[in-house]
Amino acid sequence: MQTMIVYVIGAVAVGYFIMTIWKKLKGQGSCCSSSGGCSGCGSTHKCK
């Protein structure tokens, strides 16, 4: 039983960990998210 619970916790942790890293690497950041457009986001490159 303990082994089962441990594996479930492990799977959730791995999933969260990978998702966090993926979001960090691919994330646009806040400049383009709130206004919905690129105008005035201040980023030095064009938002996709």
Partner: protein
């Protein structure tokens, strides 16, 4: 006016108090500080007032609306493209004349504008008298409201004025006459722009003026027009003609006209006869920014800050540490043996607990930073460092992002937006991670607590931060003379008046950072700790180098034999249990022994306290010897043999756990990288912690917590410092080398991601990661091998 959402933009010079007003209006807790450039991104917040919904947008501070730096573009584009219903121009009233320059430019954008005379208390105290009605009249009858952001005064009046004057169709009555030559040129350009201006948001007059000023951003926009060629041809002809007539650059002439106008308004609406020319801030600055004393005072303040963080933070940290120790013990007592128990005790409590222990230090660090920021000293620090920074090829303004780097590298990189020159920005971003961020503080604190005397602990911590500052300057010089050749631009920065920090602002700052730290502990650090537990616990079917069970059995046999031979046979008894007096004597001796071990746990063997407790134990034992003269020596021998057996069991158990750990997935990976880091004095466990630390620097400590907890072999939670002290691979020199490596090596993932976003490619994050790790290796090698040659580290 209907019940539509009213969009309000807060605009103004840097450090005029926009974010403070934003926080007052929206109830938000955005970071404020008494230095220019705190807000680098626009922030949005909401407010309901008299049945109306308000969307309040806090824009980065700017001195003008040219496209010189990023924050100017952000502000200008928002006003023009998003067309807020109302622009609130927040002015630092104590510096009214300078602030009015932006006001003139804002009014030329023809958006409904309200003037907020902020920091009115400071202006009043200095003796400045302002005729609000006259000021409003000079600026085309715009509403003027007096505000005091720090004490939240004038906010409702501001909102009331927004409701009263919110009319999208109403254009600003303001129009500044630039003289016949410029006005004629505008008149010629305007019709051309009106035809094509259908999809472009800028007012035609403003657009014409900007074209004449040769604003590159606007020229790029105009190039999209259908009649762009004609516009540019006419514009170029007009520019040549005007340059000859005016005998100076058009943009300089236009700026001059604006300054003249502002000067006139100021003299009409403001009475400054009572204002003293030398302010209190000037008097303080005479000392704090003195050419001779400025720098020593700055370093003395830094030294004081890190000493306070270490010494004051230690006490509550020890309480939290003890709390997690108790939690570990409690979990051990209620959960049956098995992997879940190990995961919770070694992985979660050992990992996350070791990070949370440092909350007090983080709070204190941000208390110190908040005080430096809110008093206005931060801007002075940049000023003091400018001459040094210039010699190393860094812009003086870069020092503010660098100082912010003491908090978080990712935030500091965003702070580089205040730098106009992209080369300065990239150099600053590359060297910012060398300033020790708060996430590295737990690593230093734990290593210093374990290996350095309390008397020099603060100095050791300060030396690491100082090394970071020195390295950042040296690396900036290297980058400036290799990748980014050229001179840095001159440094112009406003020194704000000194202010007493408000408790609210300081507490908000401390809370925000600590909440972020707690959030990280509950998310990414928790996930990393669980992951690390798996990597250090599995695979389970390890082929051991020796049969540990047989070794244990042999030790127990040997113990039984020795007890029989040296105790039982000498006393002529068959067993101990049935000899009551002898059992009592043994129990008393063991109690003495346990008490001694418990009370001397944290003490140095050379300390007077240790001697005192040892003396007390000897006296108690002596009494027992006198009372039990015949049996005493045998009982003492029995206690000694039992202790030897316990130690042997611990040793075998530790060796087994150590082998388990070494043969785990983490161990196997760590062993493969060990050859690369062994010249630095690091073993595979440190290597593994450093690799995991790239995700977030706090993870270094949580990984060490998990590894040392599992490596301990017993499911009880020791303090990390003690576990490190007991590690034979670790000593003061290795600890210092490790601190140096952690200071310098690769920025964390969040910082790398921000760098990618700010530079627009993965090129610079890759350069940052590679160069910093290589530099870390080289410097740490010098520190460790040099230290060994000098005889440090044992």
């Amino acid at each position: 006016m209907g019940n539509d959402k009213v969009t309000v933009a807060l605009v103004g010079n840097p450090n005029s108090g926009k974010t403070t007003i934003f926080n007052n209006l929206t109830g938000a807790r955005q970071h404020v500080g008494n230095y220019p450039g705190v807000t680098v991104e626009k922030k949005e917040g909401y407010r309901k007032f008299k049945g109306h919904d308000f969307l309040i947008v806090d824009l980065p501070g700017t001195y003008s609306l040219t496209a010189y730096s990023l924050e100017e573009v952000v502000t200008r584009n928002f006003i023009v493209n998003d067309k807020p219903d109302m622009v609130i121009d927040v002015l630092d009233t104590s510096n009214l004349e300078r602030n009015l320059y932006l006001t003139v430019q804002l009014l030329e954008l023809e958006r409904p504008t309200i003037l907020a005379l902020n920091m009115i208390d400071v202006a009043d105290a200095s003796g400045l008298k302002i005729d609000d009605a006259k000021l409003a009249q000079c600026l085309g009858d715009i509403p003027v409201v007096r505000t005091n952001g720090v004490h939240s005064k004038g906010m409702d009046i501001l909102l009331g004025n927004i409701l009263q004057h919110n009319d999208k169709e109403k254009k600003s009555k303001f129009r500044l006459n630039y003289g016949t030559d410029i006005e004629n040129a505008i008149e010629k350009l305007e019709p051309l722009l009106m035809v094509a201006n259908q999809s472009v948001q800028f007012p035609a007059r403003w657009l014409a003026l900007k074209l004449l000023e040769n604003d590159t951003d606007i020229i790029d926009s105009v190039k999209e027009f259908t009649n762009a060629k004609r516009i540019m041809r006419v514009c170029n002809e007009l520019r040549i003609e005007l340059s000859t007539k005016l005998n100076e650059d058009i943009d300089i002439f236009v700026a001059g006209q604006r300054y003249q106008f502002v000067g006139k308004i100021y003299h009409q609406a403001v009475d400054n006869r009572l204002v003293s020319t030398v302010t209190v801030s000037d008097k303080i600055d005479k000392i704090l920014t003195n050419r001779l004393f400025g720098l020593p005072i700055f370093f003395a303040l830094m030294w004081l800050m890190f000493n306070l963080v270490f010494t004051l933070g230690k006490v509550p940290s020890n309480w939290i540490d003890a709390g997690f120790g108790m939690l570990g013990k409690y979990l051990t007592s209620i959960i049956s043996d098995g992997p879940l128990k190990s995961l919770l005790v070694d992985g979660v409590v050992g990992g996350v607990g070791s990070v949370l222990v440092f909350i007090p230090s983080i709070l204190l660090l941000f208390l110190a930073i908040a005080i430096l920021e809110d008093t206005g000293y931060m801007a002075r620090a940049a000023f003091i460092m400018d001459r040094i920074m210039g010699r190393f090829g860094l812009h003086g303004k870069s020092f503010i992002p660098l100082l912010l780097g003491f908090g978080c590298s990712a935030t500091a990189m965003m702070g580089t937006r205040t730098l106009e020159n992209p080369r300065d920005r990239i150099i600053t971003m590359l060297v910012t991670p060398l300033m020790s961020c708060s996430a590295k503080l737990p690593v230093y604190t734990i290593l210093i607590a374990a290996f350095f005397d309390e008397k020099i602990a603060g100095n050791v911590l300060f030396s690491i931060y100082l090394l970071g500052i020195i390295l950042s300057l040296v690396m900036a010089r290297v980058f400036r003379s290799t990748l980014f050749e050229g001179q840095s631009e001159p440094f112009v920065m406003e020194l704000p008046s000194y202010r007493l920090p408000t408790a609210k602002s300081v507490l908000i700052h401390m809370w925000e950072r600590s909440a972020l730290y707690l959030k990280k502990a509950g998310t990414i650090i928790l996930a990393a700790s669980i992951l690390m537990w798996f990597l250090t616990t599995y695979p389970k079917d390890v082929a051991y180098s020796q049969d540990y069970d047989a070794v244990l059995a042999q030790a127990e046999d040997s113990y039984t034999e020795q007890v029989k031979e040296e105790v039982l046979s000498k006393l002529g008894i068959a067993d101990i249990e049935h000899n009551e007096k002898f059992t009592e004597l043994i129990a008393a001796l063991q109690e003495n022994q346990e008490h001694f071990a418990k009370t001397t746990k944290e003490l140095d063997e050379d300390s007077p306290e240790y001697d005192e407790i040892a003396k007390d134990k000897a006296e108690k034992n002596k009494k027992l010897e006198v009372a039990n003269a015949e049996r005493y020596s045998y009982a003492a021998r029995y206690v000694e043999l039992t202790q030897i057996l316990e130690d042997e069991k611990d040793k075998v158990e530790n060796a087994k756990s150590g082998e388990n750990l070494e043969k785990s997935y983490a161990g196997q990976f760590g062993k493969t990288i060990e050859p690369a880091i062994s010249p630095l004095g690091f073993d595979w466990r440190i290597g593994m912690s450093l690799v995991s630390g790239v995700t977030a620097k706090e993870v270094i400590v949580s990984t060490m917590g998990t590894i040392y907890s599992i490596g301990d072999g017993k499911e009880n939670v020791h303090s990390m410092a003690k576990a490190l002290k007991n590690d034979e691979h670790m000593n003061a020199l290795v600890a210092y080398a490790l601190m140096v490596f952690v200071l310098i090596y690769s920025p964390c993932l969040a910082a790398l991601a921000v760098m990618r976003r700010e530079t627009g490619s993965w090129k610079w994050p890759t350069v940052s990661m590679v160069y910093s790790t290589m530099l870390a290796w080289m410097i740490t090698f010098i520190v460790y091998q040099g230290g060994k040659l000098l005889g440090f580290g044992g």
